[in-house]
Structure formats: structure tokens, C-alpha cells
Amino acid sequence: MKTLRYFLLAFVLIITVGPFVWQLSTSLKGAGEDIYTQTPSFIPHQPTLNNYAKVADAIPVWRYIGNSLVVAALTVGGNIVFATMAGYAIARLKFRGRSVVLGLFLSTLVLPGEVTIVSQYVTVRDFGLADTLLGVALPGMVAALNVLLMYNAFRALPQEIDEAAIVDGATVPQRLLRVSLPAVRGTLAVVAIFAFIQAWDDFLWPLIVLTSPEQYTLTVGLQYLSGTFTQDQRLIAAGTMIAFIPIAILFSALQRYFFKGVEEGGVKG
């Protein structure tokens, strides 16, 4: 039984991590060795960091990283502020149409983003935000999923604590900041990670909003590595690793909170 469990674990590990290892090893392979082999070989025989240097030569990779960080910061900031406030309002405040609002948030989750992408673009363009990083970040600054996560986290807190604070004369912002927020830090970390990954990985939306190459985010800019006539797989792999590393770092830094946060929202209910 135990061996079966380990076998399954190893199997899932291989299918999830395998492609990354392949990319990593391809990005380190020298110009003299084969990339596509009948049986995959993961250890580069002529290891080199040249491919990474070549990526930096071919495209302004720092600029793209900077742009991506701006978008990610706006998205993370926006989600932390607005999803918290919206989630708190739906969970704790009484106002007319509260359940309608919740239903609307839920229903937008069903729509795939591709369906609304053109109308979203027309809206952003009418704001005059086409070809700006704010335009890229704006629609993602309050994600419905994050509002629901925060709603769930606030709802799990005992109502009595809030009531005690009311008796003590705390206003709504005070109750949110002093009483409830410290108790949901885990979920906030989850929201931050989700928002960061969403902003960092998105390809289609920034591609549509941005037109000038100097405004491109990293995912879009990396596409320049695969040109019309020639594609150097080693460079593409190096580019992929450059895009992947920040997410890996962020996740491992926030990992502790992440799993705490996932439990926080789900178990107590």
C-alpha cells in the first residue's frame, strides 16, 4: 500500500515537474548538442549560461520585467485593497441587495475571459488607457474569485467578536482594520499570490491592450524569441525560465502563509 502511494506520488511529480526540468536542461544546453532526442536526456553535456545572455541581447528583458512588475504590483495591491473591502462588505455589513451582489460575483466566475475580452478592450480604450500598463492591470485589480475568498475568510470569524467591537464603539473601518484583518492574513497571502501569478502569467490580455513594443510585459515580450523564420529552442527555454523564476521565489517565500490561508477559509465555515 505504501509503495503504491509513493509510486503515485513519484508519478505525479514526474508529470508536473518533468516539463520544467526539460526546459531548464534545454536552456543550459550548448549549441553543439541535440535538444530532441529519442529518449529525453536531462543532463547538458556542454553546460552553458550563454543562452541567458543571448536572451538579454535579443530583447530588452529588464524593461519587460520592470513592466511586468508594475502590472503585478498594481494587480496585487488592487486585489488586496478592493477584494478585502468587497469581501468584508458582503460578509459583515447589512445592506439591501447583498445577496444579489454576491450572486453577481459568483456568476462572473462562470464566464470565460476570452468571451468578454473584446468588450473589455473597447472599455479600456474608451478610458484612454489602451497601450498603458494601467490599462493592462485595471480589469484584474478586483478579481471575483479573490472577493469570494475574502468573503469566505471574514464569514468564518465568529460574529460575536464583531459585536463586541460594536459595543465598544468601533466604526466599520476600525473593525475591518483592527479586528478582522489580522485574523485573515493567511487568506490575504493567498489573494496576493493568486493576483501575482495571474498578472505575471497573463498573455492574451496584455497583448491586446499594448501596441508599442517598449510597453510589453515579460510574457508578451518573450514571444519575440520565436521569430517567423527561425526559432532557437534554447533561447525560448531560457526565456521561459526567466519568467518562471520570480513566481517560484514568491511562492516559496509565502508558502507558509499560503497553506495556512487555504485552511483558514475552508475548514471552519
Binding site: 549549441a31 541535440d34 475580452i117 473584446v118 478610458f127 488607457l129 489602451a130 497583448l207 491586446i208 514571444q223
Partner: protein, 417 residues
């Protein structure tokens, strides 16, 4: 707080539009002046210098003009163009392959460039025809660079398995016979590396669409017989099983891995294979495409909403003129669409290197090359047909039924376009 944010955004939007609307005085539309944008598809950073040179030549010839280059990444280009089209932000001059130009031409977003200009005097007929569409009058783009497919063969596998790499298959039927010969000698090797698609039906002379272009009609007995032939070949093991999977990454990947002995590819293909797998150097021989070579056309179209239509048209002609196209063809193995480029001896000469041989062969092929994938068949339809053919080749469904189903669904998709 919400309201304050909305107000802030609106204020920002207003200030930005105020900045943007300063220069909207429309000049005399016949004069070649003003700054236009040129959108190319995945040509930078490799060809930035070339494109800048072309632009510099244009602005020197027409003082008072400017061209802003926007190069779009390869992936997601059709989404990008459609979003630009639906929001009225198409650049003045756009690099569009014919299948992308078709929906825009139908929506009257592109200029008919054949008005008052006999394009077939300047450009090869196949290039001009690529931008003529059934159902709309006119030509909706200047042909730019052309390419075709060649066949690449693995010399070592040929000689190991009793075939002669100097006489590789020249037709699809020869491919079947040589695949059988290879299988007899080397049971683990494969010669064939792809299942049939719509281009194979065109090659076999099967009619794809009805004359008015409104229906697909390729579900004939002849097409079913061709699919049957592939089904039998698959059953005998002439094709590797992975060609039927959805993770099939194209015959060139299998070829580079050494899993199959044949692939198709453009005249630039060899450089790619050798860069990916240096051990293939000297192992690859190249020959003309099977049966009818395909013609791939890239072109530049002019937006119907351009503020400086005369400038946009002049630039589209400039970038596709013989001189500029020849220069481009010298940089990379693509071919000019201008008639006078035939006198440039560079393209037809085999300098002895494999890449030179590929260039000369491909250039020779272009005379007979035809568009093998009708532009009505878009990417979604090709995918659907691909799935149906996979079912038939695997033997799960009779070929005729698979084709009937595909045609029925593709007709639905076509009527919605």
C-alpha cells in the same frame, strides 16, 4: 471609496484623450504626407535593421512622412488583429497573411488595392490571387514574401533501411511504396510522418468548396479512398502512433528527434533542424515537395480607416517593391513576389551548400506552387477535420462517415462566419 476611484479613472481618461486628440486635422487625402504605422508579424529583433532601412528609404523619398514600426509577437496575432479591427484601431499598413485578411476584407476594413492599378504587372499571379476572395470584389493586399515546402529526408535511415536517398519519393503514392520497403527492412523505423489534411485533398484534385464558396463538398469517394489508404498504412505500421495524438507537434519535431525519416518544411527548415540537433549535420538531404508544392503568401494590406490613405498605399507598395523584396530574400530564405525578381540570379543559384540547394529548389518550385489550403478553412475547421481524420485513420470510424461528419460541422461553422 468606489465612487472616488471611478471618478479618478474618468478624470485620468479625460486628460489622456485630451492629449491624444491634438493632431486630428486630416490632411488632403491624396497627398503623400503624415505619419503612419506599420504593423509586422514577428520580424523583430532579427530584421529590425532591415525594416528600419526600408522605412528610411521611404521617408527620404517622400519628405514630410514618417513610419512608426510596430512589430507584433508571433503568438496570438489573429486575436490581436481582430481586437484592433473591432475597436477601430487597425494600423495603417498591416502585414496580414491571406486567411487573416479574409474576414477583414469581408467587413470592408481593408482597401481594395487593385483599383486603378494592374497588380499582375508587378507581382506574380499566385501572390495576387491569394488576396482575392470569393464573395468580395477586388484585391485586399499587396503580396509580400513567398515561401513553399520542401521535403527533407534522413540520409542515414535511408541507407540503413535499403532505400536510396538520391531518389526519395516524389509523389504521395511513391511515399507509400517506399514506406513499405522501409518497414520490411527496419520494422522500428518510419518513413511517413503525417496524416492527411485538407491540402492532401487539394493535391489529389478533390474539390473543396462549392463554386459560390458557401459550402464544403470534399466528402467524396475519392477523398475517402485516400483516407482509407492512410488507414491501411497506419495499420501496417508505416506511421508512428504519435501522429494521431493531440500532442502531435508536427512532423518536423519527429524528424529532428530521428523518429521518422521524412518531414516537410520551408526553405529555412534545414537551419532549424541542425541548430536544434547538431548531430543531424550532413545527415539530411532535400528534395522537391511531393506532387504539387504549396504556396505560402505573406502580404501587406492597407486599412480602410487610415487617416493618410495615400501615404499608407505608397508605403505598402514601397515595402513590396522588387528592390526591397530582393534585399529581404537575401537575408533569409524567403522569396520575393515581384515578377522582376526572377532576374536576380541569387535565388535560383545552388551555391553547393545544403541551404543554397534548398533555396534553389524552393525558388524553382514556386512556378508550380499553389495554395493548398483554401482560405475558407480556418484554424478551428482544420482542427475539427484533423480530429475526424484521426478517427478514420485509427480505424474507429469508416472514412466516408468521418468526412461526412467533418463537412457537416464545417458547413455550420462557415455559415456563421
Amino acid at each position: 471609496m468606489r465612487i472616488r476611484l471611478a471618478a479618478a479613472v474618468t478624470a485620468l481618461a479625460l486628460s489622456l484623450t485630451a492629449c491624444g486628440s491634438g493632431s486630428s486635422d486630416s490632411a488632403d487625402s491624396d497627398k503623400i504626407t503624415g505619419t503612419i504605422t506599420l504593423q509586422t508579424w514577428a520580424l523583430t529583433p532579427k530584421f529590425t535593421d532591415y525594416l528600419n532601412e526600408v522605412i528610411a528609404g521611404f521617408t527620404a523619398k517622400y519628405p514630410g512622412t514618417g513610419v512608426k514600426l510596430l512589430d507584433q509577437p508571433g503568438d496570438g496575432y489573429s486575436e490581436k488583429v481582430l481586437a484592433q479591427a473591432s475597436s477601430n484601431t487597425l494600423p495603417d499598413v498591416i502585414n496580414l497573411p491571406p486567411d487573416f485578411a479574409l474576414p477583414l476584407a469581408k467587413q470592408k476594413l481593408l482597401v481594395d488595392v487593385s483599383k486603378g492599378d494592374d497588380l499582375s504587372k508587378t507581382y506574380v499571379q499566385g501572390g495576387v490571387d491569394a488576396y482575392k476572395f470569393t464573395g468580395v470584389d477586388g484585391v485586399y493586399g499587396y503580396p509580400w514574401y513567398l515561401n513553399t515546402d520542401l521535403d527533407y529526408w534522413n540520409v542515414k535511415q535511408f541507407s540503413d533501411c535499403g532505400l536510396d536517398a538520391n531518389t526519395p519519393p516524389a509523389t504521395t503514392q511513391e511515399l507509400f511504396t517506399q514506406a513499405a520497403a522501409m518497414k520490411a527492412k527496419c520494422p522500428d523505423n518510419f518513413l511517413m510522418s503525417r496524416k492527411p489534411d485538407v491540402s492532401d485533398f487539394v493535391r489529389a484534385g478533390i474539390k473543396i468548396t462549392s463554386d459560390d464558396g458557401k459550402q464544403f463538398v470534399f466528402n467524396t469517394d475519392q477523398a475517402a479512398a485516400l483516407v482509407d489508404q492512410y488507414r491501411d498504412a497506419y495499420a501496417k505500421g508505416y506511421l508512428p502512433p504519435s501522429v494521431l495524438n493531440s500532442d502531435y507537434q508536427g512532423n518536423s519535431k519527429l524528424f529532428t528527434q530521428g523518429k521518422v525519416a521524412w518531414t516537410t518544411g520551408g526553405a529555412t527548415g534545414l537551419a532549424d533542424f541542425e541548430r536544434d540537433n547538431p548531430s543531424l549535420k550532413g545527415q539530411v538531404t532535400v528534395s522537391k515537395a511531393l506532387d504539387t508544392p504549396p504556396l505560402y503568401v505573406q502580404g501587406v494590406s492597407v486599412s480602410a480607416k487610415s487617416k493618410y490613405p495615400a501615404t499608407a498605399k505608397a508605403f505598402a507598395q514601397w515595402i513590396t517593391n522588387a528592390d526591397n523584396q530582393n534585399k529581404f530574400g537575401h537575408l533569409v530564405n524567403v522569396f520575393p513576389s515581384t515578377i522582376s525578381s526572377a532576374s536576380d540570379s541569387y535565388f535560383g543559384s545552388d551555391d553547393g551548400t545544403p541551404a543554397g540547394k534548398a533555396r534553389a529548389l524552393a525558388f524553382g518550385e514556386l512556378k508550380d506552387a499553389k495554395n493548398l489550403i483554401p482560405y475558407e478553412v480556418n484554424a478551428d475547421m482544420q482542427k475539427l477535420l484533423d480530429q475526424q481524420i484521426a478517427l478514420a485513420v485509427k480505424g474507429d470510424e469508416p472514412s466516408r462517415k468521418a468526412l461526412d461528419d467533418a463537412v457537416a460541422k464545417m458547413n455550420q461553422m462557415l455559415s456563421r462566419q
